[in-house]
Symmetry: C2
Subunit: 384 residues, 2 copies
């Protein structure tokens, strides 16, 4: 295995894109390549994620993107793993580069759904769930994660303010992130008064539908010794699965795929949770952030909500979580999400995070979940 | 790089599936694993292709498949590259295994569209083309390949009987393949009287929409020294791209991505076309088989049609091409096609091809194209 780095990264502003997905993908891809001090011709393969390309009637996005970048002969593949698509694409890029098959690879995640009516967009999202058992029976993602929140509350007696503290914190971070969909703080009072979407989840527990695009460049140390900024050394790149449907799992208060991925990633990196200084985790709903902090080994079961309420996971807390604003406030353009977590860590390591900058960190972790945890990716990044 | 093998393979009968895509995928996956003398728990990762999963309202197929196989914790990714999706998935599996990241991987391609009305199915297929420039303006695949056929005819004066000879040969092979959608011979007269679909292409120039599923198991030699049958040694696994849209390419009589992929695959394998004894090529339309034989270096430009008419590419000819029946007769369940080409080579090497068995071969090649050649995969297989 060669030591493998993230040498460049870029994101657009999540929210509503005027341009098409392919245009946004090409724009962020070029910016990521430039941020690495590379040129498109240095790229050996392009890994694209665009799970809901059907929304733009476009599959096979790689050749269109590579043609736009002036490197049409470069191979490409589209990688889908529901909401963990672009972290799955990063894993493929990592394997190609670390294994010596490529010297540099491009990962681009993009999604555009905002031009659709809400019902159509919702039905596209729902194809990430198990159609005959879940979506066809009306179980969409707010309802499925509400089931997790209910089970969690029943077991641990979680207070609404604990979920609310995740939302308030992530909105505070998003307000300082120029890439974020929601750049606006909220108060606990606003949270508690927001309408119930799927009990116990309220409006401010839910991430939005967002358009967006994010790109990262992965390269081998040997072939890219002097990147323009501070590269991220990929210390672990792990993917896992779990029983696809929640109703078949032994418990509902966390995600088995997250637990397994964290265990393997810490082993691969030779690290423990104590050595991680900040995190980007998959907070599609506030309960998901609380469960993630426990599944990943940062808090004992049933305690992450209280710690959040006590401010431990704020930007200036003991363990900053989702300094980007997370899916909750930065937004969740499904296939761009995993890549955008890495963009955040790249910007944090390079001191480019402005008002949301966390203290100097040597090691950070990104956690990205597919659907209700049928898939999970965990990446651990260090400094050179 | 570790020497990497295809140790198991299975296909269902292409055509119209009564069961769902996920059920068919699980069935062929289990049969492929059994044909390798392995068990599901030996699989380290699953690479699924299902480009038109939207037709069954189902994305994120990997966790559902792995759950059905009893290995829910195993990671998965869905790989899309239009009609070359499952050969792209094979390439990912090859890289993971050859690079030492996994000891065994499962590749499954599946598609089910037959329950849709033809217009809906056609519009799903068309998302593989460039939507704003091609599909939106009415250019679907028969029209795009008809453009290639017209340009080819104009340059080389091809006779209709040369295209027809591809169809007659592939139907003769399909008639001997229990996996084939069309198990029925046709005559040149039937070909010449079949209706024009997109001039100069007639009904019998076009592959059908098919449902189908095919699976292969890829494993490292070190970890799988005694497969049940004759394994295929992967001597080359190459993917390439080209300018996505035909209207931007310098010529129309062949596919640049095929030429580049063949050149690189022969270099990787240390072989020349003379050493290949039979081929599975991407004959979505008859003209595509003729162009492929020239692009891959088996015939000089403008000559493969005549050679086909003279019988050189029949089962008992100098260079058997598409002994399976090809996309033309075996059928084209988009994401299953690349994997099914490998199933054919596996069955041929193991003497399981019954009435379509070709003479003993040491080396065979599979060629799979995405859309109109925006992507191409070429794999070369040898014996142990």
């Amino acid at each position: 295995m060669r030591e493998t780095w993230v040498v460049g990264a870029a994101s657009n502003r999540f929210g509503k894109m005027a341009e098409s997905g392919r245009e946004a993908a090409a724009t962020v891809a070029l910016r990521a390549i430039e941020s690495a001090g590379l040129e498109p011709r240095d790229i050996g393969m392009t890994f694209v994620s665009n799970a809901f390309g059907i929304a733009e009637r476009q599959a096979h996005l790689g050749p269109l993107l590579n043609t736009a970048l002036g490197i049409p002969e470069v191979p490409s593949a589209t990688i889908e793993s529901a909401c963990s698509s672009s972290s799955a694409a990063l894993h493929e890029a990592y394997v190609h580069v670390a294994g010596g098959f490529l010297d540099a690879a491009l990962v681009v995640g993009v999604e555009k759904l905002s031009h659709l009516d809400t019902l159509t967009a919702t039905s596209y999202f729902a194809i990430g769930a198990d159609y005959p058992f879940e979506a066809r029976n009306g179980a969409t993602f707010p309802g499925l994660y509400a089931t997790i929140a209910s089970a969690y509350r029943q077991k641990y007696g979680t207070r609404p303010e604990e979920l609310g503290a995740v939302a308030v914190k992530n909105h505070a971070n998003g307000a300082r992130n120029p890439h974020a969909h929601f750049q606006k703080e909220i108060t606990m009072d606003m949270y508690l008064r927001s309408p119930v979407i799927a009990s116990p989840l309220r409006l401010f527990d839910c991430c939005p539908f967002s358009d967006g695009a994010a790109a990262i460049v992965v390269a081998a140390r040997e072939r890219r010794p002097s990147p323009v900024g501070e590269p991220l050394v990929i210390r672990a790149s792990v993917r896992t699965g779990s029983i696809a449907d929640m109703h078949d799992r032994p418990g509902l208060t966390g995600l088995p795929a997250s637990r397994l991925a964290a265990e393997r990633a810490f082993r691969q990196a030779g690290l423990s949770p104590k050595e991680i200084q900040f995190l980007e985790v998959h907070d599609c709903f506030t309960i998901a952030e609380i469960a993630a902090l426990e599944d990943l080994g940062f808090y004992p079961p049933g305690t992450a909500g209280r710690a959040t309420r006590e401010g431990e996971t704020q930007r200036d807390g003991r363990l900053p979580v989702n300094p980007s604003g997370g899916l909750k406030a930065k937004g969740h353009p499904v296939s761009a999400t995993g890549a955008s977590q890495v963009v955040e860590i790249f910007e944090q390591f390079n001191g480019l995070a402005g008002g949301r900058q966390v203290p100097h960190a040597e090691v950070a972790l990104a956690h990205n979940v597919g659907a209700t945890g049928g898939s999970c990716s965990v990446h651990i990044f260090g400094r050179r």
